[in-house]
């Protein structure tokens, strides 16, 4: 049960991190319905990388080093496709993540 919970959390974190990476590109940012002027700063890519690493640690914690690392690699692959398909068929679904990130960014600036 704990193992499944860790896997699920890791999978969601990886999807979130890759969605942030995609949104940090101007094209995808506007596809998600966000005005170009508010686009994400480059440092969001660092945030995404840290989330990816943390998700890797969750995988290792739940499944051990061997299985955990393979699981992480496979989940990242699956999430890349999932984010790309979201962007092509339902880009507005990433609007939520984009708005939260945009608001956090605006907050940090002020």
């Amino acid at each position: 049960m704990l193992e499944a919970l860790l896997t699920l959390t890791a999978a969601m974190a990886i999807y979130l991190a890759l969605a942030l990476l995609a949104l940090s590109q101007e094209d995808h940012w506007s596809r998600a319905g966000m005005p170009p002027a508010t686009r994400l700063a480059h440092r969001w890519r660092y945030v995404a990388s840290i989330v990816l690493i943390l998700a890797g640690l969750l995988c290792v914690a739940g499944h051990g080093v061997g299985f955990g690392l393979i699981l992480w690699v496979m989940l990242v692959g699956a999430a890349i496709v999932a984010v790309a398909l979201t962007l092509s068929w339902r880009p507005q679904w990433l609007g939520g993540i984009a708005r939260v990130a945009g608001r956090l960014q605006a907050h940090a600036k002020s």
Binding site: L21, H63, M74
Partner: protein, 513 residues
């Protein structure tokens, strides 16, 4: 070949892809299905849909049940123990050069009638690595060549991709076919790049003894069969002693398994083999299970059959352990359902990668070839259709034939075993799809997609009619393998129907344009 590096990589990528794509798709498709070979076995062998054992069966009981079936003069007999994915016991023996196999229900210790099929583990899995071309290992060498080509394709593909970062998450399904095919090609290739690289490399590493046939001769000198057998003994472990030609007994195998558990620090055997059964020099081999580990260990113990005394123990050397780790990454014999599904998706991404590679090549040349009167597109298109939708269709025909052919077999009068007829249907349909592809050219994609959309639900329905296991019943009865297979078939039908409809729309546009 073009002079600039980048252009020569594009050239290499296109041509290696066009030439090897067909074999590569077959390998990837069959490999993807092999991820669930045991589940396909359950679907195709209805009488092995047994409940998973709740407690381990005593090895001595198993020996007692199978011994009456071991003929005098058999050189060995073996039982592979039940696992959650393989609920039946697999019993086999060797008499002379011939092998005989049968399955046993561990609950009743009775033999299950022959299911008359090679199914997933006997047809689909060996197809993946040998293409069923046994003559001089031609199939395995072709697969090796395709794997090397795959590595070249992966590297040249990455090198010739000009906008990796900018288009990393890009898929534009509404653009013209050539563009969206390339997007999907890049996406499936990059997302699963580590998987494709590791699965191809580990596939090559598994067959070290085939692809490097001279390595052991260089290391052990002497050459020939002797060097080979020394290498095999040191690398994979082997213990042999001659027959005494005097009658002997068989001590408790359970007691030997207890010794094994101590030697392996809690490890369990996954198969038991008795050499020279009934002889005074008979000995028992136990192999350690790797159900909970990536590395497929080679740990083996040999016991004197009469006294139960430990005769020999073997563990792989560090270098072989690396080979066994790579093999384990590839074979996924471990119990891990999340990874099993992710491997399945990884394999499918390989199929998408190859199919879209073909589509891009074809769409990029279609107009020009038509104008210049070249036959290239026509030839490659037939090849691509037979290789992609054709092999899927042939696999579905294989499943359908399995549910249509009666088990008791009037076929045996023709001299063809039922399993051979099933495989014959596969090859017949597969050949027909190539001919159809060459005759109908572009339209054959859509035709075959519709056929897939029709045949997949038919297989599900036939399974229901012949076994009573419709998806809901399979779920309630705990036949999860059957349920999964039915659901995947239905999903395949939906995807194929969607593809067929979109292809129809595209053709409509071309006609009206």
């Amino acid at each position: 070949m073009d002079r600039t590096f980048s252009k020569s990589m594009v050239w290499l990528h296109s041509w290696a892809g066009v030439i090897m794509g067909s074999v590569l798709f077959a390998i990837f498709w069959m490999g993807t299905l092999s991820v669930f070979d045991a589940e396909i076995d359950r679907w195709m062998m209805p009488q092995t849909r047994l409940p998973a054992a709740t407690q381990p069966v005593a090895l001595d009981n198993i020996a007692q049940a199978v011994l009456p079936s071991v003929p005098a003069g058999a050189s060995q007999w073996r039982v592979d123990l039940a696992t959650p994915r393989e609920p039946a016991l697999s019993f086999s023996y060797k008499l002379g050069k011939e092998s005989h196999a049968q399955q046993l229900d561990p609950a009743s210790m009775t033999f299950i009638p022959d299911q008359g099929t090679e199914a997933g583990s006997g047809f689909i899995f060996p197809f993946h690595y040998s293409l069923h071309l046994a003559w001089f290992d031609t199939g395995k060498w072709l697969v090796g060549l395709a794997a090397m080509a795959m590595l070249v394709l992966l590297v040249s593909g990455v090198v010739s991709h000009k906008k990796i970062i900018a288009q990393f998450f890009t898929f534009r399904p509404r653009k013209r076919l050539q563009r969206s095919a390339l997007d999907l090609h890049n996406l499936s290739g990059l997302a699963a790049l580590p998987f494709h690289f590791l699965i191809t490399l580990s596939g090559l590493v598994i067959f070290i003894t085939i692809y490097f046939p001279q390595a052991h001769e260089a290391a052990y000198g002497g050459g020939g069969e002797k060097a080979r057998s020394t290498f095999m003994a040191e690398a994979y472990g082997r213990y042999k002693r001659p027959k005494a030609n005097l009658p002997g007994t068989l001590a408790s195998i359970d007691a030997m398994a207890q010794v094994a558990e101590r030697e392996w620090h809690g490890g369990q055997p996954y198969f038991v083999r008795v050499w020279h059964p009934g002889d005074a020099n008979s000995y028992v081999e136990l192999r350690r299970s790797y159900a909970n580990d990536i590395t497929m260990n080679l740990d083996q113990l040999f016991f004197d059959a009469g006294t139960g005394a430990l005769l020999h123990r073997f563990q792989a050397s560090p270098v072989m352990s690396v080979q066994r780790f790579m093999s384990g990454l590839h074979f996924i014999r471990f119990n891990h359902w999340t990874l099993r599904w992710l491997y399945f998706l990884g394999g499918l991404s390989g199929c998408v990668l190859i199919a879209t590679g073909y589509l891009f090549w074809l769409e990029g040349r279609r107009a020009r070839h038509a104008k210049l009167g070249l036959a290239g597109v026509r030839v490659v298109e037939g090849l691509a259709i037979g290789s992609v939708t054709g092999i899927i269709l042939a696999t579905l025909a294989f499943f359908t034939a399995n549910r249509l052919l009666p088990l008791d077999l009037a076929w045996s009068q023709t001299g063809w075993p039922r399993a051979t007829v099933e495989m014959g249907v596969f090859y017949l349909v597969w050949s027909a799809t190539f001919i159809h592809g060459w005759l109908r050219a572009r339209h054959a994609w859509r035709d075959q997609c519709w056929l897939i959309a029709a045949l997949a639900p038919l297989a599900v329905t036939l399974n229901w009619i012949t076994t009573g296991d419709h998806p809901w019943h399979a779920m309630v009865a705990g036949h999860h393998g059957v349920l999964g297979m039915d659901l995947m078939l239905l999903l395949l039908a939906v995807l194929a129907a969607t593809a067929a409809r979109r292809l129809g729309n595209l053709e409509g546009k071309v006609v009206h344009a």
